[in-house]
């Protein structure tokens, strides 16, 4: 299996009035063809910025990428011109956003919005694509697909809008789809359906998926591999089953434990909150909230340890490929 995307030492900063905010710090990961990886972390951990960087959608006026490369099939996306990027974006790399209501154009009929993708990327006459659009929507279990095409986004429910977004992302048969919290704004029942559909489409087209979420349940259901991010850093990367059986990083363990199930009257919670992006990072990013923090965690930044099975952990207490005990 070839690597479809390789991100090496990516750093993203934002220049703001309050100073420089580091959103992503020295992040490296890759994704194989046809793989689903999940990126988990709290808000502010840099997951969305990572996906925007891959898409080349960061605001050029404020965002800076001082170093790093994003290789898509060996081509560095950061070095491409806007024109070359446009050819990839929306065609070979597509994205599904968190809030479908914000991502769809409110004054354009669904059909026209979908045709646009067709016209630009599928290099086909837009006029005779209605049949294909209807077929795609039917595949996505949109009832009455022909009617839905004629509607405006506000006439559709959240789940239906998200289906349109997925259709839009799938239309050009991409090789990589990034789904940024695709179900956070939806009900549990709709969430289950949308996840099923993403998985179905992924199987069918064989495209790779980066799924960004803060819900470990969603990851468990979908991903082959999970990356845990905290304060813009990768803190753990592991195969999905291994991760749920025995996560190594204290932050991953805490995240796993804060799932609401199985508790009565009180929930397990991680104390404190994630420091904002202006706070300089000295030592381990998680040490302020970590229950096992030691003195060295305060001032020595832990390195990413690579284990024989390919998993990675950034923690002083699990160096050298040794499991640390509970």
């Amino acid at each position: 299996m070839g690597k479809i995307l390789e991100v090496n030492h990516l750093t993203v900063e934002f220049q703001t009035v309050q100073g420089i905010a580091s959103a992503v710090r020295d992040l490296s990961f890759d994704i194989n063809e046809g793989e689903i990886i999940g990126i988990v972390g709290e808000s502010g951990s840099g997951k969305s910025v990572t996906s925007l960087a891959v898409m080349g959608l960061l605001d050029e006026n404020t965002a800076r990428i001082p170093n790093g490369e994003i290789l898509f099939r060996g081509k560095d996306l950061l070095k491409l011109s806007e024109k070359e990027l446009c050819k990839l974006r929306g065609a070979e790399i597509t994205m599904v956003f968190q809030e479908p209501a914000m991502a769809l154009n409110p004054v354009m009929r669904v059909e026209k919005q979908l045709q646009e993708v067709y016209r630009i990327h599928a290099r086909s006459r837009a006029k005779n694509c209605r049949g294909e659009l209807t077929a795609l929507l039917e595949e996505l279990r949109v009832p009455d697909a022909g009617q839905v095409l004629k509607k405006y986004p506000f006439e559709l429910s959240g789940g239906m809008k998200q289906r349109i977004m997925i259709a839009m992302a799938m239309l050009s048969k991409p090789q990589l789809m990034i789904a940024d919290e695709p179900t956070t704004a939806l009900d549990v029942t709709t969430q289950a359906e949308i996840l099923e559909l993403i998985k179905m489409m992924q199987k069918e087209t064989g495209c790779a998926v980066i799924l960004i979420t803060h819900d470990l349940g969603v990851i468990a259901e979908m991903a082959d591999r999970v990356l845990v991010m905290y304060r813009g850093q990768l803190v753990e990367q592991r195969e999905i089953g291994e991760f749920y059986r025995g996560a190594r990083h204290p932050y991953s363990k805490d995240l796993l434990r804060s799932r609401p199930e199985g508790f009565d009257r009180r929930f397990w919670s991680i104390p404190g909150t994630i420091p904002n992006a202006y706070t300089p990072l000295t030592g381990c990013g998680y040490c302020g909230r970590c229950r096992q923090a030691e003195e060295r965690c305060q001032d020595t930044p832990p390195q990413l340890t690579i284990f024989p099975d390919g998993s990675q952990v950034r923690c002083h207490k699990c160096r050298g490929g040794m499991e640390n005990e509970q």
């Binding site: 959240g158 029942t189 819900d215 349940g217 805490d254 804060s258 009180r266 909150t273």
Partner: protein
């Protein structure tokens, strides 16, 4: 639970909206957002209302507090009747306003429920001053105390909402509601906008406050897992009606209604590869404008038969304290 006192009794509560069928006709269709709901909330207990979006749970929460005018039914709060529509009895505004301090509400979206031009302190202070909760000279101190109790720093008092994250805003919104020392708090999806780890912090804080100050919560959510752990009782709502209610654990672990079962099966699995109940629910929720005949869930229910299509099931006791509206139960 029958030996305890009910704080709120909701009887046959209805909220209908009339919706125009188009600009060229006078015909009005009625949308039954809350359709004949009867519930009792016991003192110092929490009742959870669970359902998909569009099932009327938020409308119900607001109607109970009379933030929306009801179309039918009655609500009795601590022995005082808030309204009884059929007998045309409504509590007058003056009395209602003094009762407002006993009933607070926490809204879903902490971004739109705080005034961006008001400091957090001013937002909390407004209600405290209006209802004279503490003497004037102690107000500031009291508000800071409330903010700290809700897990915020002292500095929050003079800060504006934009300086805060979602979790912190929600804490401020909760502090604002609890500062009135209410007896009854309606929480409308208080953690829907929050991360999982922050969600547990906020819920724990709400539970701590409940123990200290003896609140009664009406907890509205679409997540049965969270609701089960947070509440004593759960009522499951579908298209404006209660389809199942009972003790939280009973409803979650021994659910009767196919809709409740479907909601539970839709929850993400806890571990990869773990088998979960098959999600048999089909289609999406029908529009409130045309509620199906018979059992309103029959269009999505895998077990529906002829009787379900024609006859509407009553909410009836199946076991002690556990009721469901299903012909098959």
């Amino acid at each position: 639970m029958s030996n305890e006192n009910p704080l709120i009794e909701i009887n046959h509560l209805k909220k209908y909206y009339s919706v125009s069928n188009g600009i060229f006709t006078n015909k009005k269709a009625s949308l039954k957002a809350v359709d004949d709901v009867s519930l009792t909330v016991w003192k110092k207990h929490s009742l959870g209302i669970v359902g998909e979006s569009g099932c009327g749970k938020s409308t119900m929460g607001k109607t109970i507090l009379r933030l929306i005018e009801p179309s039918g039914g009655s609500v009795v709060f601590g022995g005082k009747e808030l309204f009884h529509v059929e007998e045309k009895r409504f509590m007058d505004q003056k009395q209602l306003r003094s009762l407002r301090k006993e009933m607070a509400m926490v809204f879903q979206d902490p971004y739109s429920s705080l005034n961006p031009h008001m400091t957090i302190g001013d937002a909390v202070k407004a209600g405290v001053l209006r209802h004279k909760i503490v003497p004037r000279e102690e107000v500031v101190e009291y508000c800071i105390e409330m903010l700290c109790a809700c897990g915020l720093e002292k500095e929050a008092y003079a800060s504006y909402p934009n300086e805060f994250s979602g979790g912190q805003r929600q804490r401020a919104v909760i502090a604002r509601a609890l500062a009135l020392r209410p007896r009854f708090v309606v929480c409308d999806e208080p953690t829907a906008a929050l991360d999982v780890s922050i969600q547990s912090q906020v819920l724990n804080m709400m539970l701590d406050m409940q123990e200290q100050m003896e609140f009664t919560y009406l907890f509205i959510s679409h997540n049965l897992q969270v609701t089960r752990a947070f509440c004593d009782e759960i009522a499951v709502m579908y298209l404006g009606k209660i389809v199942e209610k009972g003790k939280a654990d009973e409803v979650y672990y021994h659910s009767i209604h196919p809709y409740t079962k479907a909601l539970i099966a839709s929850l993400p699995v806890s571990e990869p590869g773990r088998k979960k109940g098959e999600r048999k629910i089909i289609n999406s929720i029908p529009s409130m404008m045309d509620v199906p005949q018979g059992c309103r869930f029959h269009t999505r229910c895998p077990y529906a038969d002829e009787k379900c299509r024609t006859e509407e099931p009553e909410l009836r006791q199946i076991e002690d304290g556990h009721a469901a509206a299903c012909h098959r139960a």
